[in-house]
Amino acid sequence: MMDDLTLLGFGPDGWAPLLLKGCLLTLAVSATSMAIGTVLGVLLAWARLKGPRWLRRTALVYGVVLRGVPELLVILLLYFGLPSLILSLSETFGWEAPGLPPPFLIGSVSVGLVSAAYQAEIFRGGVGAIPRGQFEAARAMGFGDLMCFHRIVLPQVTRIVLPALGNVWQFNLKDSALIAVTGLSELMRTSLVAAGSTRHPFLFFGVAMALYLVLTTLSSTAFHYGGRYSNRWDRG
């Protein structure tokens, strides 16, 4: 028991600082991938709703593929496939071979790409939930597309999609654990290394689980209050 406490402490043999750093890195990766997912997701939703036919098709296929392929496979594909792709591209065009992209970037991009596919569906649904009459009214008032987006869509969609985005965030947080396979020392990877080098896997995986529970609980609370705040005028 004493032994366990030393291992989890802040002393020279303790893993606490590394585990906490892992937590921060997990949060950072999840936040980055969420941001990538939101930007790409908005573009995809726009393509599905307003784009020309070929773009609509492309966005549809993107959604089907990225939601039908395991996240682990996407991460492995980008992590192992991207370097060889970059290398062969630079050979064909005669560029100087650039360095390999850092694991943080690859990890957050791959989780972000998957997240975008889910977020696109959410945004599309959110725009669909706005009454059609409002768009007609906007057009009758002479609103352009941009004005319509800014004044009609944006204020309402953020409110409508917030709970669903909270769900995606939870999935992002958990998917970020898969980035451990690339060697990025986020929470999962740190607990794996700790478990391997101390031979106390039960202890360290247990602690990692507890830390993930803290992260998911805190963020779901944050989304709960965010939702209450964004609906503050909507309560009778």
């Binding site: 039908g68 392929v69 395991p70 496979l73 594909l77 060889s84 654990a177 898969l178 999962m188 995986f205």
Partner: protein
């Protein structure tokens, strides 16, 4: 070019041989998780607080942590627990396929139970009261009134969860199971042709998911008795002028 095609062909053949492993994990954990979720749903509406507390804790624990961590906990963590290591359970816990199935059963049962719970809340109360009024009790009420509605309401979300589970089976490869992803990684270790191999694996997963989703949508249609009847053929406009 031709060499490339032969390579992709042979890789696909190797990957297809791993499909049964993926499907086995999916089937075992899918069935077990559904059964367990049914139990958890029953616990969530129990009168005494203890089963409700257990259900809530179960959901909190397994939905709040990544599945990969649960798999590692069961495969590596439990192996260090003396009474498992030296007990009769060791035969099961040293098998990575069993560990994956166990972790996925626990994790997905939590998700499916939430789906069932939501569907149960959506079953019209009047129907249940009417059943009671007709003298149905317990099991008969469940079988004749609650279950038919509940299954129809839950099916779309349930299908989504099954697709999610198919994707989750790939995590088995992280604890040495040679499922589709595992074999793909093995082939890459020999051939270094990452893109081809992973794309072939992705295509297989897509195929499995497309098949599952088609089957489940067909089931949904089949069960949808309330669906509006097929519209009648439009009445052709009469050509003769009305006199």
């Amino acid at each position: 070019m031709e060499e490339h095609l032969t390579f992709i062909g042979s890789v696909t053949a190797q990957l297809v041989r791993a499909v049964p492993v993926t499907l086995l994990i999916l089937a075992v954990s899918g069935v077990c998780a559904t059964v367990l979720a049914t139990g958890l749903t029953a616990m969530s509406v129990a009168r005494s607080p203890l089963p409700r507390l257990i259900q809530r804790t179960w959901t909190f624990l397994f939905r709040g942590t990544p599945l990969i961590l649960q798999i590692f906990m069961i495969y590596y963590g439990f192996a260090m627990v003396p009474w498992i290591r030296h007990g009769i359970l060791w035969a099961a816990f040293r098998d990575p396929v069993f560990c994956t199935c166990l972790a996925m059963t626990c994790c997905c049962s939590a998700y499916i139970a939430e789906i069932f719970r939501g569907a149960l809340a959506a079953v019209p109360r009047g129907e249940i009261e009417a059943g009671r009024a007709c003298g149905m009790t317990g099991f008969m009420l469940l079988r004749r009134v609650i279950a038919p509605s509940l299954i129809r309401i839950a099916l779309p979300s349930y299908s989504n969860e099954i697709i999610m589970m198919t994707k989750s089976t790939s995590l088995a490869s992280t604890i040495t199971v040679l499922d589709i992803t595992g074999v793909a990684q093995q082939v890459i270790a020999h051939s270094y042709r990452t893109l081809d191999v992973f794309c072939a694996a992705a295509a297989l997963y897509l195929l499995i998911n497309a098949t599952l989703s088609t089957l489940l949508t067909a089931l949904e249609r089949r069960l949808d008795v309330d669906r509006a009847p097929t519209p009648l053929a439009p009445i052709p406009p009469t050509l003769e002028p009305l006199s």
